[in-house]
């Protein structure tokens, strides 16, 4: 059946309102979007790594999760949800569970690119029937906007601030999606929030319903850390996609496929000028060179991706 956002939004919410995430935050949007793609007859257990999402959605005795939820620690959400999945398999085999359950892990970029990478790698290699979702907001937002290996070059964050000698973070972002592809798992995709959420929805559906350990990397902007107005969330996401900073693609059984190609690839300025974390690039004497450096990096990665997707 063709995708219809209105219809999808009529499904009962699995992640409900009342949580304390900021207005304009991408984390809650990512969770709702991913869980909305589940078939209504399937029940679900979500594991969440220590994160904004975790501290904002389950404050004892309240919970925004209208289903199974577990938090255990920061670096281990993949292993934790793998344990839940193992329990399900064992109990299903013994005939103790009648319902059908799906298992999803949610973590930010810190919990995925950095401290949770080992746990993620292990779970992917073992092939648990689960989906791992990274909501990538490109820094440790929960602890106060520190740099992660997902922070883009020249972004200003609290542990790579802009100073008189150093203009923000000095390294490019790690390409985690490619690292996950290297595991040879059945389904890997990169997505974000587009106008009708179709891209996210379809990828989430495939990730849930392709057997095995599958992975979604969702660019999920943070208004506090990126310094944009809360109402601009969707605009920022669209610019990330149209500048090819965050290309939308999927890798199905090792086959790379672009899911969106901008008609007019926009210059990176259009994306970074909307965000306070890059503001210094427009005032520093060598700002133009720095922007050119970012543009060259985007172009190189984009060309490589196009080749992989041919």
């Amino acid at each position: 059946m063709a995708y219809n956002l209105k219809q999808e939004c009529c499904k009962p919410e699995r992640f409900v309102g009342g949580h304390r995430l900021c207005a304009g935050c991408g984390a809650g949007v990512a969770v709702r979007g991913v869980l909305r793609a589940l078939n209504p007859e399937d029940k679900s257990v979500s594991g969440v790594a220590t994160s904004c999402l975790e501290v904002s959605s389950v404050l004892y005795p309240f919970t925004a999760w209208n289903e199974g939820y577990i938090h255990s620690a920061f670096e281990n959400v993949a292993a934790t949800i793998a344990g839940c999945e193992a329990a399900y398999k064992a109990k299903k085999r013994k005939g103790e569970i009648k319902d059908s359950y799906k298992f999803t892990a949610f973590a930010g970029d810190g919990g995925t690119y950095d401290i949770g990478l080992q746990s993620l790698s292990g779970a992917l290699e073992r092939g648990h029937d689960m989906v791992y979702v990274c909501y990538d907001n490109e820094a440790y937002m929960n602890t106060g906007l520190q740099r992660s290996s997902a922070t883009p070059k020249f972004a200003e964050v609290s542990t790579s601030p802009v100073g008189t000698e150093i203009p923000g973070k000095m390294q490019h972002k790690k390409d985690l999606t490619e690292i996950v592809v290297g595991h040879g798992v059945p389904y890997v995709a990169q997505t974000t929030f587009t106008a009708n959420f179709k891209d996210l929805h379809e990828k989430a559906y495939k990730a849930h319903y392709t057997p095995g350990a599958n992975f979604l990397n969702i660019l999920a902007p943070c208004p506090r850390g990126w310094r944009y107005a809360p109402e601009d969330l969707m605009k920022i996401c669209k610019l990330a996609v149209d500048t090819c900073v965050w290309p939308l693609y999927e890798v199905v059984e090792g086959e790379w496929k672009l899911t969106y190609e901008p008609k007019n690839k926009l210059p990176i300025e259009d994306y970074i000028k909307e965000q306070g974390r890059f503001r210094h690039l427009f005032s520093m004497p060598n700002g133009e060179e720095m922007i050119a450096d970012l543009q060259a990096h985007v172009d190189k990665k984009w060309e490589k991706l196009l080749k992989k997707c041919k």
Binding site: K43, T63, H71, S72, A79, Y88, A90, R93, E125
Partner: protein
């Protein structure tokens, strides 16, 4: 009918696991506990158990997977040693804080650094305050028995705390001794079916591991502490039931020739055997000596230990672990504290011994008993933090 066998301590744990047939086992190799996982994965490969075996990429993930599995209603178990237990540390507190009765067999080994693969108790002793029940085992039989009993203790609704069953790496884990096993059917009947009140996949919404605010965290810690307090009764009930089933009667600790003892050694795990041997030798000479072998270290049997030592003149507490507090080892701290309220406190000294697999010969215990005679003679135990078996001391 009991089964007479000859098994190593590791095989004893593997056999107990096979007979229990847990829903999930998640484990990672580390010497000297690895062998348990070898045996168990063979049972899985041969279809002898219905367990979902998760060969994780680290001990951190082993404990994480056990937490996830147990929260999803599965009886889950793991085994480890030394640095593996250290890597689990963060999650040990999570497992007990979430009140998940995971069972863990610890094959005790020294912690790095420098690295050493042999036995001492620095691993599990370091985890003594993590909210886990700790049982210690003198030999393969006790390791087997303790493990089976630990399940019942952990899963009891009045407890709901995870348990560590400890035995000495190599000394008992790799030594083959006679053992009496229960029939698998009897094990199944004894441990029963794991039926948690709620779990993640029981069809209803449930949130495990919430963010616990200032308004509630303290109360939850209090509840965990109360569970540890209440565990003693459950432990004794389970020991009694197991005794009736097997004829092997266990207490919180074993009192060996303590009735009229003037000098006592407090010890746990395999060295208790050597201590008893020396005790017998000295008893043959008419010396009034005894041994207390701790089985349950968490919860600590404070009142019972005090009672058992009330009539003794001098006590030496043996620690196969130094806590680097500059005032002795962890067992000493607790035993000494237990005796504080006694009207006539025994004089008490502490010996750090056998670290990193250093052999613990009978001479060590002869030295300790002789030192206790000296303490009684002088009436002084001021120099209480001592070492035995280390060169240059």
């Amino acid at each position: 009918m009991a089964i007479r066998e000859r098994l190593s301590g590791n095989e004893a744990i593997a056999t107990a696991l096979k007979q229990v047939n847990p829903d999930v086992v998640a484990a990672y190799p580390i010497t000297p506990s690895t062998e348990v996982v070898h045996y168990f994965s063979q049972y899985v490969a041969d279809g002898k158990v219905g367990t979902e075996f998760v060969a994780v990429e680290s001990e951190h993930s082993a404990m994480s997977a056990c937490i996830g599995a147990q929260a999803a209603g599965a009886r889950s178990a793991t085994v480890t040693s030394a640095c593996g237990l250290a890597l689990m540390w963060e999650l040990l507190y999570v497992a007990s804080g979430h009140r998940l009765p995971v069972t863990l067999a610890v094959i005790n080994r020294a912690l790095s650094g420098p690295i050493n693969i042999n036995n001492d108790h620095s691993d599990s002793m370091g985890a003594r305050d993590s909210g886990w029940i700790q049982l210690y085992s003198e030999n393969n039989q006790e390791a087997y028995d303790n493990y089976l009993m630990s399940l019942r203790i952990a899963e009891h609704p009045d407890v709901l705390l995870p348990t560590m069953t400890c035995q000495d790496g190599f000394i008992t884990s790799h030594a083959i001794e006679n053992i009496e096993l229960l029939e698998t059917e009897a094990v199944q009947k004894f441990v029963g079916k794991y039926k948690p009140e709620r779990h993640l996949i029981d069809g209803k919404p449930m949130s495990v591991g919430p963010y616990d605010t200032v308004q509630f965290y303290f109360e939850h810690q209090y509840q965990r502490a109360q569970a540890m307090l209440g565990a003693k009764k459950v432990i004794l009930d389970v020991f009694k039931e197991f005794g009736e089933l097997t004829g092997r009667k266990y207490g919180l600790f074993e009192e060996y020739k303590m009735e009229d003892a003037e000098r006592a050694i407090v010890v746990l795990n395999s060295s208790a055997g050597t201590a008893k041997y020396v005790c017998d030798k000295l008893r043959a000479n008419g010396e009034k000596v005894g041994v207390i072998k701790l089985r349950v270290f968490r919860p600590f049997p404070m009142a019972e230990i005090a009672k058992a030592l009330a009539h003794v003149k001098a006590v030496a507490v043996m620690d196969k672990c130094d806590s680097f507090s500059a005032v002795g080892g962890p067992v000493f701290a607790d035993v000494r504290s237990a005796c504080y309220d006694l009207e006539n406190r025994p004089l008490m000294i502490n010996y750090i011994y056998g670290l990193g697999g250093r052999d613990v010969p009978v001479e060590n215990f002869e030295t300790v008993y002789a030192a206790l005679s000296e303490v009684i003679k002088t009436g002084k135990a001021d120099n209480f933090y001592r070492h035995v078996g280390v060169r240059g001391v």
